[in-house]
């Protein structure tokens, strides 16, 4: 067996694969075949269903009934002090759920600070986005993440870490469920949701206006009355990630299709592909020198997620935060706050999470005990906050 014939065989195999794989089969199945298959499936399914339908179904019915009771009790408990669930909340929840079940959602932060736009595909779940100068993506099904850095013309393809699909979908700052949950969590501080109908750009829209007391926040959520989907969110103080003083407008639409991959968002086809680390798109961003606003935003998204998890934990542990957080990347430090640190205005000054760094560059992000984030530009200020956090923890 000489090298030439070896090469020839490989060539033949490639040609055979390419020939077979490239065969175009224009016709679909004959209609009568399709009908016959549908009829057969229907018959076989009925046959299976007749055998022990009740035996198979009753545990599910019991479980469903129990779930309904738990949800109803939870809703009553959550909103009890405000009377029965007001229709405005129910309507807004319906719009949020409708929006999140669309095959594709596109969101753009059109005003305030750094711009971003994001596509979320639900079948299967994948995200693509532009944050500042970065193009990022995440294919949950394939467990792959993509971060394109135009400065180095490199596309880092990494493996998605342990974040579950549900966590990824519900903790991003633009996610509607996050907004809604935030409003519910602020109910006990005296916030109110009002519903009105307005004509905006010659179309009738349902507008939900949130007036929060603590924090003092106003949000307008505009819903397409016909489609019952959120089309715009205006917030004078958005959720922590985008800064306390930065008003922002998010516009949502629901295209039929979205990008197939990050290349559709402008990653050059000849970009160098490098292996990325394990983690979500936010986790792969460390506090390295010269990072962009986009990197900071992604890092902030990750911190936001962890802080919310801590708050949830505290809710079921008499207000006490966890001793440590599993799965934090090496560049994030968590400082458990004392119970005194969580009281009143002190919470907004107590650092509970911060980034480490080798050399101070554009700034660092700190998370405080009221779960807000702050980008600290001045190193001296950063050190002061850190010193206070450390002394409080001792």
């Amino acid at each position: 067996m000489n090298e030439e014939s070896e090469e020839k065989r490989e060539q033949l195999l490639e040609q055979a694969i390419s020939s077979l794989g490239g065969t175009t089969i224009a016709e679909g199945p004959p209609p009568e075949l399709t009908q016959a298959v549908i009829a057969r499936l229907s018959a076989e399914r009925n046959q299976v269903q007749r055998v022990g339908t009740w035996e198979r179904l009753w545990p599910r019915l019991v479980a469903a009934a129990a779930t309904v009771c738990v949800v109803a009790a939870g809703g009553w408990w959550l909103l009890g002090e405000h009377g029965a669930m007001p229709s405005a909340y129910a309507e807004l929840k319906e719009a949020v759920d409708n929006s999140r079940s669309a095959e594709w959602m596109h969101v753009r932060k059109s005003t305030g600070g750094m711009a971003f736009e994001w596509w979320l595909g639900t079948m299967p779940t994948r995200f693509f986005g532009r944050i500042g100068d970065r193009i990022v993506g995440c294919d949950v099904k394939e467990r792959e993440t993509y971060v394109y850095n135009p400065a180095t013309r490199t596309l880092a393809v990494g493996e998605l870490g342990d974040d579950s699909e549900a966590v990824l979908k519900t903790t991003e700052p633009w996610d509607l469920a996050t907004w809604y949950d935030q409003l519910l969590s602020e109910l006990s501080s005296g916030g109110e949701l009002a519903r009105s109908v307005e004509v905006i750009e010659a179309k009738e829209r349902t507008v939900f206006t949130w007036s929060g007391k603590k924090p003092d926040r106003t949000m307008r959520i505009v819903v397409d009355t016909e489609a019952k989907r959120v089309i715009r969110v205006e917030a004078d103080k958005p959720l922590g990630l985008w800064g306390e003083d930065e008003a922002a407008v998010f516009t949502y639409n629901y295209p039929e299709t979205g990008p197939a991959d990050v290349y559709d968002l402008g990653v050059p086809r000849d970009a160098r592909v490098v292996e990325g680390p394990v983690g979500s798109t936010a986790q792969v961003i460390g506090p390295h020198k010269g990072r962009s606003e986009a990197d900071i935003a992604m890092a902030a998204a990750l911190m936001n997620r962890h802080l919310k998890a801590c708050r949830t934990y505290a809710g079921s542990h008499d207000g006490e935060w966890p001793d440590k957080i599993e799965g934090l990347p090496g560049w994030l430090v968590y400082v458990k706050p004392s119970m005194q640190d969580l009281e009143g205005d002190v919470a907004s000054q107590t650092v509970v999470m911060y980034e480490t760094y080798d050399a101070w560059d554009t700034g660092a992000i700190v998370g405080v005990a009221d779960t807000k984030l702050r980008v600290v530009r001045d190193e001296a200020e950063f050190k002061r906050l850190l010193a206070e956090a450390s002394s409080g923890a001792e």
Partner: protein
């Protein structure tokens, strides 16, 4: 959850048909594989939910079509035909070249029928269905490393089959 099978068949029927027909190049065989694919899917859904219909149905269609291929070559015995390897498909094929390409495809089908079922499935899903390693691993219930090893072995065997063709061709040329 009740599955609307009429909807599933109509939505995915085209891709199932294409997968089966590409491998079988025969209307009757493809129709059998088509039907068996959906019946297998029905049985799977009775054991649990399906997250990726397209991936599942393409895998099942490949599996059923490969079953048909194996039956076909078992019944016919090893084919005596040898492809005319001097004429390979080009971008603008003449009738003779098309015939040669068809022969080559048939040769690959026969060679795939001789692979182990798992090797053949992994090979088809990768090279004909263009699935990623991870998708194949998930569909076959294997690790990515196992898929990689299966593909390596499948390719090795198929190259060997091509050697037989090459040897036949060289003999033919000497005559």
């Amino acid at each position: 959850m009740v599955i609307d099978w009429a909807k599933v068949v109509r939505k995915h029927g085209q891709v199932v048909w294409q997968t089966a027909y590409r491998l079988l190049a025969d209307h009757e065989d493809a129709a059998d594989a088509f039907q068996e694919t959906f019946v297998s899917a029905l049985q799977i859904t009775q054991r649990g939910g399906v997250r990726d219909w397209s991936g599942l149905l393409r895998t099942l269609a490949t599996r059923r079509a490969l079953d048909q291929l194996r039956r076909r070559y078992r019944l016919a015995g090893r084919s005596e035909r040898q492809a005319d390897l001097s004429q390979l498909p080009s971008t603008n094929p003449s009738p003779a070249q098309r015939a040669a390409a068809s022969e080559l495809q048939e040769r690959l089908r026969e060679a795939m029928a001789l692979l182990t079922p798992q090797q053949a499935e992994a090979f088809c899903l990768r090279h004909l269905e263009h699935m990623s390693y991870r998708q194949i691993a998930r569909q076959l219930g294997l690790t990515v490393n196992s898929v990689s090893a299966l593909l390596h072995r499948a390719r090795m065997h198929l190259r060997e089959s091509m050697r037989e063709d090459l040897a036949s061709k060289q003999k033919g040329e000497q005559k």
